[in-house]
Symmetry: C2
Subunit: 212 residues, 2 copies
Amino acid sequence: KVLYVLTQLCGLTMIVLVGTWIGQHYGGLGGSSNPKLEFNWHPLFMTIGFIYLYGNSILVYRGFRTTRKKTLKLTHAGIHMAAFVLTVIALKTVFDSHNLADPPIPNMYSLHSWLGLSAVIIFCLQYAAGFMAFLVPGMRENYKIALMPLHIYFGLFGFVLAIASAVMGLTEKAIFSLGANYSTLPAAGVLANIIGVLYVIFGALVVYLATE
Amino acid sequence: KVLYVLTQLCGLTMIVLVGTWIGQHYGGLGGSSNPKLEFNWHPLFMTIGFIYLYGNSILVYRGFRTTRKKTLKLTHAGIHMAAFVLTVIALKTVFDSHNLADPPIPNMYSLHSWLGLSAVIIFCLQYAAGFMAFLVPGMRENYKIALMPLHIYFGLFGFVLAIASAVMGLTEKAIFSLGANYSTLPAAGVLANIIGVLYVIFGALVVYLATE
Ligand code: HEM
Ligand code: HEM
Ligand code: HEM
Ligand code: HEM
Ligand SMILES: O=C1O[C@H]([C@@H](O)CO)C(O)=C1O
């Protein structure tokens, strides 16, 4: 219970700090007419969708044990759907920020993009599998039982991979924008590091609560 | 069993590729008279010690189920000790590469260094706790039983954090050395990305085997 509240506080702080980071140091949000500002939706929506909501959806069964199982399943699937929508927008804005730049920046070259997109694909497959196995009626009970450990393993794996991708993303952005100045620890760099530490604490708490 | 062999193949490939990467693209290894080359020990020994040996030590209880428990415990503690020694050398060489550079580069500014050093500290605390609880005789059995889930949780957490740190380290090195060229995917960049993917697969396999 205490840990659950701590997880929420950590998650909300991390979202507020990402907002502050892009607002104070990178010019805030913008549309596709300004690819540099459109980029800023990417860290914000990945943090809200692919980290905070992803984690919260995993915790649904733990936080509300007295609620009916059917309601929990729909909440779990629903929050994951919301996470997915924000993640798609976060992907669209980063691809725009590459394709609409002048000159355009190539896509999918970095380790960050490889692992990040892998996490999104794992998430999609997991959604389809979870939907068919546990929500659509008709799956035989012994199949459900056999699938559950894999569902939990890949659910947590995708989540941890999202966090590993996010700390790489922060690292990239810090170096791209600050260059050698990063090593003098200016405000934008310290903030990026603190956000990264919060991602890791949030992730560690979610995995702990989901496996204890 | 198949997965165990796959884990080993993946781990050995990843070590060979790191060797190739620093050998072909970064001038190989060197002593403290050449800080740029001395740096190259850092990714190599972190990969062998803080990823490969760390993971293998976790797997000792799974790979050799028929061996006596006492022998397994000593092997577990012994491999972790070897991992620790290589990790300390990997830290010494990277600090040297900053302090002996002209002009010197500041220490501990990056998210990579914050999370990486945290992983090492968690590892050290874990070692001391595991040593006293499970190797030194005299700990009461019910304490041992209570500590074991925490021992496993923090053991795996430190390991996953090491891998997250390593992919950040690869990202930094790729950007520092290739700059905007990284986006044209030159050989050094592709190799860094492949090594990162292997780290993640190795990590996923170790955690799967240790928790199934
Ligand atoms: C955790 C969820 C995240 C995922 C799944 C993700 C995924 C991606 C993908 C697929 C790209 C490639 C876009 C392209 O090639 O056009 C990308 C680019 C980028 N992302 Fe993220 N990202 C995540 C979080 C973040 C965060 C938190 C930051 C922090 C600022 C960030 C910074 C960047 C940067 C700077 C780029 C452009 C450079 C590159 O292509 O690597 N990302 N991201
Ligand atoms: C990408 C989407 C999904 C992810 C990442 C995911 C992840 C997870 C995780 C990590 C758990 C373990 C939670 C715990 O033990 O407390 C879990 C449990 C579960 N999930 Fe999903 N899930 C996804 C989609 C779905 C969908 C669409 C359904 C269909 C309703 C579903 C049904 C379930 C059920 C029934 C449980 C077991 C709850 C229990 O009895 O403890 N999941 N999921
Ligand atoms: C997984 C284990 C790793 C740990 C625990 C770790 C830890 C550290 C630490 C503590 C520093 C700071 C040194 C200083 O400030 O003087 C550092 C620096 C560095 N590491 Fe790693 N590292 C790891 C793996 C890697 C890998 C695989 C690479 C790939 C090349 C790498 C690349 C770098 C680079 C480029 C620096 C210098 C820039 C900076 O301070 O961030 N590291 N590492
Ligand atoms: C940094 C050092 C250490 C780390 C990261 C670590 C990590 C782990 C992990 C992840 C497991 C779970 C393995 C599994 O379930 O298959 C484990 C099990 C265990 N560890 Fe450690 N450990 C460390 C040091 C020690 C030390 C020094 C001892 C003392 C001998 C020890 C004793 C044990 C025991 C008895 C088990 C239980 C094996 C079983 O019954 O399944 N550990 N350790
Ligand atoms: O010393 C030990 O502690 C654990 C167990 O007793 C507590 O879970 C174990 O397997 C040992 O060999």
